[in-house]
């Protein structure tokens, strides 16, 4: 009886798993085995926010039965305009747990295991248990970490060690979905410069010559807080703190006759808020889970390998194959060339690494094959190498020399070949 119900319930899905289509692979064998392969595929969802809620729902209604989800965040009121598994009464509770329980309750027969914490808490053994990893994150840093981890896990003698990574991301009416086969196709790191961070406002503008309301807010946030409330750790989720910054920014803006500082803008600048709506999340999340279904069952060819979407003017998508880069610091085997001004100091070079789209490393340490240029940790080594910070690059490295850069946010070294301008 149960199986009859089950086949009635899943009849639309089962039709594409039990019948070939004009585009499914010639060698593909549809049928019960395909269904059972899908139902036993353990799949990991990273993020239970705007994309994550949608991804969990979609996977449950795509026939996946064993789903795991990781998220470290708790539910905030500003999530409710799109994270549809959460209600007013859930505010303050962990996203992963509430989302998992909701989907389990709604879709009979699916098991969703939540983990409240960071992806960095887990080791390779943990990630090895999954067949596919789907990411719905708003942090580039977390994406780069999981990307490097999955690439590091690939053992050519063990096909099971290759975990397809499906990544989604949105901003306002725009978004992208991409499929990454670790070591085989273009990875997050290969594509890093396609997602350049907004350039930071120079500190001297903020400190001495503000022109925009945002400059006044940055001043209140970065400088005034340090001066007046140094012992009070700033919390961007505390509305009183935001209110304080807003008032300070307002005072400064009046001094300089700059218009336009608002509470909403203050919050946006301080928290680096990215606009987000339910509809864009729905598009991108479903694009990722559709690929997960195709990869898990072979019922149709999967995305190779990038789809971008923009909804401001009609419906625009662009699907293409992003290139795998031989000098990718994560999946390539060559050092990446980087043109630098030999007269810049090591400190200036370190600052530039934070902003350069192809690097985006905030706390780098670095060495050449022979010597350590700068090392943040342990303190003794930091002290020994600190003097290098004021030296020019030309006095520390040769033109064309390779350096290895490490950053506490990532488990791997980044190799750059420095070419003098």
């Amino acid at each position: 009886m149960a199986s009859t119900n089950s086949s009635l319930r899943w009849k639309h899905l089962h039709k594409v798993l039990t019948k070939p289509g004009p585009f499914s692979d010639q060698d593909w064998v549809p049928g019960l085995e395909t269904i059972s392969a899908l139902e036993t595929s353990k799949i990991l969802v990273i993020g239970a926010g705007g994309l994550g809620c949608e991804i969990l729902k979609n996977l449950a209604l795509s026939g996946f039965k064993d789903i795991h989800v990781i998220d470290m965040d708790t539910i905030d009121i500003s999530n409710l305009n799109r994270q549809f598994l959460f209600r007013q009464s859930d505010i303050g509770k962990p996203k992963a747990e509430v989302a998992a329980a909701f989907v389990e309750r709604r879709v009979k027969g699916v098991r969703i295991t939540p983990y409240v914490g960071k992806i960095q808490d887990k080791d390779e053994d943990y990630y090895m248990q999954f067949k596919i990893v789907v990411c719905g994150l708003d942090s580039i840093e977390a994406r780069r970490w999981i990307n490097a981890t999955l690439i590091g896990m690939v053992d050519p003698s063990n096909p099971e060690s290759l975990k397809p990574l499906i990544d989604g991301g949105t901003e306002g009416f725009k978004g992208q979905a991409r499929v990454i086969l670790p070591t085989l196709s273009s990875c997050i790191e290969c594509q890093l410069d396609m997602h350049a961070p907004r350039p930071a406002v120079p500190l001297c503008t903020i400190a001495t010559i503000p022109r925009q309301p945002q400059h006044c807010i940055e001043w209140a946030h970065q400088i005034a807080w340090q001066e007046k409330r140094k012992d009070d750790p700033f919390d961007s989720d505390d509305l009183d703190h935001i209110g304080w910054v807003y008032n300070e920014a307002l005072v400064r803006s009046k001094q300089f006759h700059i218009h336009g500082v608002t509470f909403q803008m203050t919050q946006g600048v301080v928290k680096n808020i990215i606009p987000a709506i339910a509809s864009t999340n729905a598009v991108i999340a479903a694009a990722t889970t559709s690929e997960a279904l195709k990869i898990a069952t072979s019922c149709n060819p999967y995305l190779d390998n990038y789809m971008m979407y923009a909804g401001e003017e009609g419906v625009y998508t662009y699907t293409f194959e992003a290139e795998k880069k031989p000098d990718c610091p994560v999946c390539g085997n060559l050092a990446r060339s980087m043109t630098v001004d030999p007269d810049m100091t090591l400190q200036e070079y370190i600052d530039a690494l934070g902003d350069r789209p192809e690097a985006q490393l905030k706390k780098p340490s670095m060495r050449t094959e022979g010597k350590t240029l700068y090392q943040r940790f342990p303190p003794q080594l930091e002290e020994q190498t600190r003097a290098n910070l004021n030296r020019k690059l030309r006095d520390l490295v040769e033109n064309g020399q390779e350096i290895a850069v490490s950053d506490p946010a990532y488990t791997i070294d980044f190799r750059y070949r420095l070419l003098f301008k």
């Binding site: 305009n81 598009v283 009609g314």
Partner: protein, 558 residues
Amino acid sequence: MADAFPSALTGPSSKERKYDRQLRLWAASGQQALEESRVLLVNSDGPWSSQSAGVSGVVGVETLKNLVLPGIGGFTIVDPAIVTEADLGVNFFLEEQSLGKPRAAETCRLLQELNPDVEGSFQSKSITELMRQDPGFLAQHRLVLVSGPMKRPSLDALCKAASELNIPVLYTRSVGFYSTFSLQLPSLFPIVETHPDPETTQDLRLLNPWPELAEAASRIGDLEVLDDHQHGHVPYLLLLLHYLGKWKDAHNGNFPSNYKEKSEFREMVRSSARTSNPEGGEENYDEAVAAVLKSLNPFSLRSSTREIFEMEECKNPQADSADFWIIASAVQEFFQQHNVLPLPGSLPDMKAQSADYVSLQNIYKSKARKDVEEVTNLVRRIESQLGPRPGEILDKDIEIFCKNAAHIKVIRGRNIPEIDGEAQTLKAICNNISIPDSLVPVFVAFQVLDNVVTGLQEGKLSSGSIDDEVVWDTEIDRVLFALTSDDQSAVDQDARELILEATQELRRTEGGELHNISSLTGGLVAQEALKVITRQYVPLDDTCVFDGVRSRSEMYTL
């Protein structure tokens, strides 16, 4: 200064906090439009046959989810279906206890849970019956969503009734890995706030500065006497105006007009930067050099704006014209007098001392304000000439129009495309069907499905026809015949193959929906609904096809 500074700390209300992430996209005005709108979802039109429950309506429900969350005023679900076992495998807004109950009631209840600010209601009847019983029913709604395939007579009657009331319709279909939807807008659909990319909207008037701006440029005088600090902080706009003056003196009063001259001019600016300072260069000069090619273009009216100015509605507005046309008419008159549009008045950030930047910004702002005043006077004159209207056009609306004047848009609404509909649809299909990677064959396959469903619902086809090879072949032939009735070569052999393949993929699920594809489509459709309701951004004109096999989409005007 007219703008007052806000005085005290005014934190956000709980509603502003809840909607914060979307208010950054469409502001309070868009949110208000959303909250004042009620949407109708026609989520099925009864069973297809004794063996088939009909449309599952997942796209419809997923679309509503994406409208309920951001706070649409209300929604009505019209759906005569009863919840079946198969519904539970595709529709997230149903639960175990929903089995056997009316689908309209169940989906309405579970969607309403998403947002207590939204009012939901339902009708477990067919739309045809409902419209017959209550002639005022449709008019309560600002937008109609229809989940297809729906039998032709029902669809045509609904679209016609909506069109007479100027209510936009979105007609969607999602089957297997494919989906398509079309938007039927009123015959003219104007948009003021199109939100173009800020990079493309800069209007700095460097080649035709108004007196106050020219005066500001002449005040910098001799750059050579400035110390390094001052020299490195002259706003790049003024630098460009300064060097343009020099260029004109040396070139018979002409501006650099072609690429070669602009490159020469750029070199002139570049070589004037001081490099003997500790930084070895000057940021303001770098900014000036970077701006030469994109900012030194004479003002020209975009062709889309010119077309609007030439429309009868703009040339001869009537007392019952929408505000848009009266303001457009005034702006057109402004353009005739000045050969430019009202100045938007915004200034990009640039390296400068605070006070210098603010005073330059004020020159732009006050010019923009003057232009708005002039347009307002024109609007008032037109209003008085036209005689009594429902109310005076708001100053705020005139101001927003002036700010966006260069990027206004008018979409000419079209009917939901059908192969045996208008001649222009047939022509557009034939024109696009043979383009490499065209998704028009998928659209044609959906037309075939529509015909099969119409045949089933009208009892002309037997109940098993949805998976009957002969029935499909006959319908494919019929559609191909219609496409090639005027021109035998309109659909070549390759295109026929593609249509056949697309119908095979559609037949794989026998008309059934896959949740992923329907959820994705519900996202796309909701996006269009939001743009239509808020009248911000630019909606689809008029058909989108999504191919989930190849993970791509295309837009067509059919």
